[in-house]
């Protein structure tokens, strides 16, 4: 592609060993997490045992599973090193504008741009929004955050380690529904999903 430099494969780590079977298993995990917001699912140890991608294990597995040449990716400074990995294994273009991305990977929550700078979808296609995959310091189900919404029986709790400003910003998006952002929180080999329909309280 024009303007792109040659890839240096010395810095690109290995991908899935059995691409089809492992992508299917990770997809099933992601589906389970999306269908049950707040549920913490764990990447099995045999998937991506060696990860030199620059992304955390769960985030790298999601990238290998969900991304392709049609999903522009935005990376924050902490995961910029994954550019070569995503270009080689997923064929995804890496873009500088959060608004132009289908997926955004971030590992430095403090430096995350205002989440409204990502693509919230359009009225015609609210599903064509950016999905943010955010590496967080903690991810446990015993926290003070209370989650309610579709996919959750009564309520569920979560501890994430993000400050209140993030949750306030996210809560403000609820008024824009069906536009909005779906967020996947990853913490090393664990992940939990927060679709736009999930209401979070107690931050």
């Amino acid at each position: 592609m024009a303007g792109e430099s040659a890839l240096d494969l010395a810095d690109v780590g290995p991908g899935f060993v059995d691409a089809v079977a492992e992508a299917q298993r990770v997809f099933r995990l992601a589906l389970d997490a999306m269908a049950h917001p707040g549920r913490v699912v764990v990447l099995p140890p045999d998937i991506l045992p060696v990860n030199e991608s620059g992304l955390a294990d769960a985030a790298a597995a999601l990238a290998l599973t969900l991304l392709d040449f049609e999903t522009p990716v935005w990376l924050d400074g902490a995961v910029r090193r994954a550019t070569g990995f995503l270009r080689f294994h997923c064929g995804s273009p890496v873009v500088a504008e959060p608004k132009a991305s289908r997926f955004a990977f971030a590992a430095d929550p403090a430096a995350l741009p205002p989440i409204t700078t990502f693509d919230l979808g359009s009225d015609d296609y609210p599903d064509r929004s950016t999905t943010i995959i955010l590496e967080v310091p903690e991810l446990r189900t015993d926290g003070a955050l209370t989650l309610t919404g579709p996919g959750i029986r009564d309520r569920t709790s979560l501890y994430v380690g993000l400050d209140a400003a993030f949750w306030r910003e996210r809560a403000e998006l609820a008024a824009l529904f069906p536009l909005g952002l779906d967020i996947v929180l990853t913490c090393r080999r664990r992940l939990a999903a927060l679709p736009r329909t999930t209401a979070v309280e107690g931050f």
């Binding site: 494969l9 010395a10 290995p14 899935f16 060993v17 080689f88």
Partner: protein
């Protein structure tokens, strides 16, 4: 897209040559060459050998415009040497032979390693290239035997 006819660096031309030889080499010859390395160089797979289709395009029309000739089966692989150099090697071969693609990628990585290049070049690439060339010549000679030269006698004026 850069102009495909632009001059490549000599490095790219050299690599293109050995990648062509590795891709066209009969797999038994690659296996035999690999078996001669003891201990076998350690490597890890970056992208497992996988088979897919590529669209072959050619400028076969009179106007020189690209034309989709058809799809062909292709197998590609990417490996990385497990030594300190972490040199990566690639292969793209016609067909579905995943082992062939993997061996070709490993040899590509070894050839990119300046310390081993000369050894691999003389032990693997040169003999296989000579074999390919000999087979090409033999086949050309075989075909040449049945060549028919058409000519027309000038008709006698009566």
């Amino acid at each position: 897209m850069p102009d495909a006819s632009a001059a490549h660096s000599p490095d790219i031309d050299r690599r293109r040559r050995w990648l062509r030889v590795l891709a066209q080499a009969p797999r038994p010859e690659l296996e035999a060459a690999w078996a001669r390395f003891t201990p076998a160089p350690a490597y890890g797979t970056l992208r497992q050998a996988e088979t897919g289709l590529v669209m072959v395009r050619g400028r076969i029309g009179g106007g020189g415009a690209p034309f989709n000739l058809g799809e062909m089966t292709m197998t590609r692989c990417a490996v990385r040497l497990a030594d300190g150099s972490r040199t990566a090697g690639l292969s793209f071969i016609a067909g579905r032979d995943v082992r062939h693609a993997e061996l070709a990628a490993v040899f590509d990585a070894l050839l990119l390693d300046p310390e081993r290049h000369a050894e691999i070049e003389s032990m693997v690439i040169a003999p296989i290239e000579a074999g390919l060339e000999a087979r090409r010549r033999a086949s050309a000679a075989e075909i040449a035997e049945t060549r028919v030269d058409f000519f027309t006698l000038v008709r006698e004026q009566t």
